[in-house]
């Protein structure tokens, strides 16, 4: 209810959320309206053909004669899935890590935050590459690899917030009622971090989608014939002169989505950090 109130109070936030929902809906149901499948090569048709309504290639075809409309939407499914799962992974690790460290404090806190410092000093890109090389290219591993290196900010913020929460009365009350540390963290600390987590989710999601696209640039992305916005934009960037549509459509979707997510994150922060919420 709180969420709905925030939403209704901010027209721009509402507009961004609705627009994002529209993108999501298009990505999910759009492919059903096209006569083509995601990985279908039209051997007889034109390859790298510009957009046209006549052949039902609304976004044109790619350099292997596959329909770009369908591929853009399929790529969107994958990019958003990678984004969501990786964000969840990184938030889960970050919140658990930060809340535990912040709540227990003392030596455990120091050790745990020291580990975060060490990981901060690790060049992230190198880390992801090695993980990808080590564990192959399974989709699941991409999620985990990205999520596993992206939780550090969340951990720091969650710890800071927990330190503040720890001193509040309801935590003391919970301790008096005989709950153990883990229960307190789970029932009282983590739920109170929810606002923070929502903001961070909206901030992390676009980052993760960009990371996936960077991996595609390095050739470490998803497996053909599956695709993602990153992979499509990368292919399109290579053909930007000869077949600009192969860059424009996927890049348009990618950019719009990232823009919307960024707007949502910004408005949410403004709304949630306002005193009284």
């Amino acid at each position: 209810m709180n969420g709905v109130r925030i939403l209704l109070a901010d027209r721009r936030l509402l507009a961004a959320v609705l627009a994002l929902a529209a993108v999501l809906a298009l990505v999910l149901v759009g492919p059903w309206f096209s006569p083509y499948a995601c990985d279908e090569i039209d051997f007889a048709g034109d390859w790298s053909a510009p957009p046209s309504a006549s052949g039902a290639h609304w976004f044109g075809t790619d350099s292997l004669g596959r329909d770009l409309f369908v591929r853009t939407l399929c790529g969107g499914r994958l990019s958003l899935l990678v984004g969501l799962v990786s964000t969840l992974v990184s938030l889960a690790i970050g919140v658990a890590w930060g809340a535990l460290a912040g709540y227990r404090g003392g030596r455990l806190d120091q050790t745990m935050m020291r580990a975060v410092d060490v990981l901060y000093a690790l060049p992230f890109m190198f880390f992801v590459i090695v993980l990808m090389v080590l564990f192959g290219r399974h989709l699941l591993l991409i999620f985990i690899a990205i999520g596993a290196v992206n939780w550090l900010d969340m951990a720091r913020v969650a710890r800071g917030q927990t330190l503040a929460l720890r001193r509040r009365e309801f935590v003391a009350a919970a301790r008096l009622s005989g709950l153990d540390d883990l229960q307190i963290v789970r029932r009282h600390i983590v739920p109170n971090l929810a606002g923070l987590v929502v903001i961070y989710a909206a901030l992390t999601l676009p980052q993760v989608i960009l990371i996936e696209s960077f991996l595609s640039f390095l050739g470490l992305g998803v497996q053909e014939p599956a695709t993602s916005w990153g992979a499509l934009v990368n292919d399109g960037a290579r053909e930007m002169e000869s077949a600009p549509w192969s860059l424009l459509f996927p890049a348009g979707f990618l950019t719009t989505t990232l823009l919307l997510l960024n707007v949502i994150a910004e408005r949410l922060r403004a709304a949630l950090e306002r005193p009284g919420c």
Partner: protein, 307 residues
């Protein structure tokens, strides 16, 4: 002050040690070796190469050997660039990346700062909205799209600037890559500064200052800017390490002999020593920059000054 700096740097040693150890064993866990190529080497040759680079020893001995070299300040020979030491490769690439990174950082601060200030003066005004959208676009377009577009426009279309290459000290060579590198950071700086300024302008002491009738310009630059810079600085610390160590994309598109591509290429080529060298450099930079961030924090906010 100096003692404090020394203590900070010393306390970083264990961090760097863990970092090197982690990277060493991670790299060795990856399948394939530095001398694997499309052209398989005969077993005798492979054995000779392995012996030459001590790859025939146990992993622990190699690890200790590497640490021993490190203690003597030797980063070892590169596996990929035969005849070059890792130290030399880094020393040759660092100035290039440093000048590009510093340029990008300055550009990001200047342009991002200006945009942030302009936007904060009339929040939600027309200027704020337009600039806000432009800035967001900067973070939302991958730079492997922006960089080739810049080349197409300014080098091939207009012919104003070179399409690539790096001649030391040539501004024309540095311009496009600096812009490509700075673009996302401009956006971050602008957003963080705008948010920081809005917070600061709502703070009680600013209201007091306003009540005293101080001009808006004085309030902005004298009172609000200092605290508003704090989040910008804490973001730019680690970001600077990334800028200074370069970017694969920008270096690849502009054909620049910087450090960035070593992070990727050395890992892909299993150039173990070069990987460790650049990882160590990155780690050291992060530690140093965090220190600089703390100092700046102290300078901007006396409460945070070390005792």
């Amino acid at each position: 002050m100096i003692a404090f700096a020394l203590r900070r740097l010393l306390s970083a040693v264990p961090t760097l040690f863990v970092l090197v150890t982690l990277a060493f064993f991670l790299m060795r866990a990856a399948p394939g070796g530095p001398f694997d190529g499309e052209r398989t080497l005969p077993p005798q040759i492979e054995a000779a190469l392995a012996a030459e680079y001590h790859l025939d020893e146990s992993l622990w001995r190699q690890y200790l050997r590497y640490l021993g070299g490190l203690a003597r300040g030797d980063l070892g020979p590169s596996f990929q660039y035969e005849g070059y030491r890792v130290g030399e490769l880094i020393a040759a690439a660092l100035p290039v990346s440093l000048s590009l990174g510093a340029g990008a950082l300055l550009l990001a601060l200047a342009l991002g700062g200006a945009i942030g200030i302009v936007c904060a003066q009339r929040p939600d005004g027309a200027v704020d909205r337009v600039l806000g959208a432009v800035v967001l676009l900067g973070v939302s377009v991958p730079n492997y799209v922006v960089a080739p577009l810049l080349v197409l426009l300014f080098a091939i279309g207009l012919g104003w600037l070179p399409a690539g290459g790096w001649r030391p000290g040539t501004l024309a060579d540095a311009l496009l890559p600096t812009i490509a590198l700075a673009l996302p950071q401009i956006a971050y700086v602008a957003r963080l500064l705008r948010a920081g300024l809005l917070d600061a302008l709502a703070a009680p002491y600013v209201r007091t200052a306003r009540a005293k009738g101080l001009p808006e310009r004085t309030i902005l630059f004298r009172h609000a800017l200092r605290p508003a810079l704090l989040p910008v600085i804490s973001h730019l610390g680690p970001a600077a390490a990334g800028l200074i160590t370069g970017s694969v994309v920008v270096e690849q598109v502009f054909n620049i002999p910087g450090l960035g591509r070593y992070f990727v290429q050395a890992a892909l080529n299993r150039d173990y020593t070069l990987v460790l060298g650049v990882v160590l450099l990155y780690g050291t930079l992060i530690v140093m920059l965090n220190f600089v961030v703390d100092l700046l924090y102290g300078a901007l906010d006396p409460r945070l000054r070390p005792a």
